[in-house]
Amino acid sequence: MELIFNGIRGAIELILGANPDVAEIAARSVRVSGMATLIASTWSLPAGLAIGLYSFKGKGLLKSLFNSMLGIPTVVLGLILYLLLVPSGPLGFLGLIYTEMGISFGQALLITPIIISFVTTSIESVEKEVRELAKTLGAGRFDASIAVMRETMAGVVLSIIAAFNRAVAELGVAIMIGGNVFVRGSALNTRVLTTAIQMYTSRGDIEMAIALGIILLLIVFVVSMVLNFLQSRFA
């Protein structure tokens, strides 16, 4: 227990003292996972909308596929991406290994099924009744689809919150693609909160690990609250 209390006390001192290493790692985590969420949203939102709004052959299979990918182990995904992105791998020419963008790309793939599944489910939960309502009020196919999309705004926001939280909290991709590189003052650092927590814990630097853990939790809470607030304002 003493270890934990001392750890928490030390963590609070590190946070309140605005330790520059802690601040840099936290900022990188938000940046990398924010970028991952942005990248994933560019293809996942349209895909989720299309799967939710339209009927086509193989739709059920596609939905099952994305649902089953929700639980993909991040280490396995990290390993696959590592093998693809190392200089001798088929995608080595992209130069993404051991870079922030590489982690973002890997996390984007990780959270793609989350956004698609959430958006698809939220559309399907209102699609029939909202579409019919819009039609009875004179909407054509396009306007009815817009009405359905408006009604699913809460689901879209929720999917983005869930996706960001999954990205910022994952370890497998960040450590295998990023490599936990950290040299004070370097622009090539890739250390993020999860890789740092893992490293400091294994080194026995519990204060630092707890400090970073608290910050990680705070980021998750704050992002969720801000997006929920924005969503309620939209509604």
Partner: protein, 237 residues
């Protein structure tokens, strides 16, 4: 105004409507009565062009209704038994149809205010429609439908879940509407309401049209034994 000729609708093995033929006149209230599962809602959904019949013809003012689907959907409005609300304000809900039709902001504001007065929901503009009571939501649904001045208003059990006060507001709206030239088709299992409001009534039983005629005549001198039993409350399931 509306002619249905031999309309049949199946859902898998179930025959929801079985060769139903009907004529519905303009600027009248036409009630469809029958037990649950009689096919009332299916008939209304076909008339509202939300469901396509498997067999038979649906003529609207002498022309095939489905061939003019897009145009008619702007002239026919249906209000569902369980009101569906857009997750936004009462104002935006009621204004939706007018926005689709390209009305100006000022026109919309004036008309929404008129409708809110009609359904006695003045001051509710900024409330979220999803947070209203069932009766208030039904009144918003009626206002939202009426604001587009439909030629034909289709109501599925419009007062089924309402208390007496809310039901009376809705009934008053229906009567005013018909006075303004709108045709109303309503499904109801409330026989008193059908008798009180409608000019003509059709009785459906197990998807078949059993009897149709002037309301007074059907209630006073039903020609079919099933109709008589239904009206007298002697038809048990």
């Amino acid at each position: 105004m509306i002619e249905l000729e031999g309309i049949t609708k199946r859902f898998g093995e179930v025959i929801a409507l079985d060769r139903v033929s009907l004529k519905i006149d303009e600027a009248r209230i036409f009630a469809v009565i029958g037990n649950s599962g009689a096919g009332k809602t299916t008939l209304l959904r076909i008339i509202s062009l939300l469901e396509r019949q498997d067999e038979g013809r649906y003529l609207y003012k002498g022309e095939d209704a489905w061939s003019k689907e897009e145009d008619l959907k702007r002239r026919i409005t249906m209000v569902f038994q369980k009101p569906v609300m857009f997750n936004t304000t009462v104002y935006n809900n009621i204004a939706y149809g007018l926005k689709l039709r390209g009305y100006t902001r000022e026109e919309i504001k004036t008309k929404v205010a008129e409708m809110l007065e009609l359904v006695r929901l003045e001051g509710y503009e900024k409330k979220n429609a999803k947070r209203l009571s069932g009766g208030e939501q039904q009144r918003v649904a009626i206002a939202r439908a009426l604001i587009t001045e439909p030629e034909l208003l289709v109501l599925d059990e419009p007062t089924a879940n309402l208390d007496a006060a809310n039901a009376s507001v809705v009934e008053r709206c229906i009567k005013e509407l018909v006075g303004d030239g709108t045709t109303v088709i309503m499904a109801t299992h409330n026989l008193f309401q059908a008798k009180r409001l409608s000019d003509r009534v059709a009785y459906l039983f197990n998807g078949r049209l059993i009897e149709v005629g002037k309301t007074e005549r059907v209630f006073e001198k039903p020609e079919n034994e099933l109709t008589e039993k239904f009206i007298n409350g002697e038809l048990y399931f």
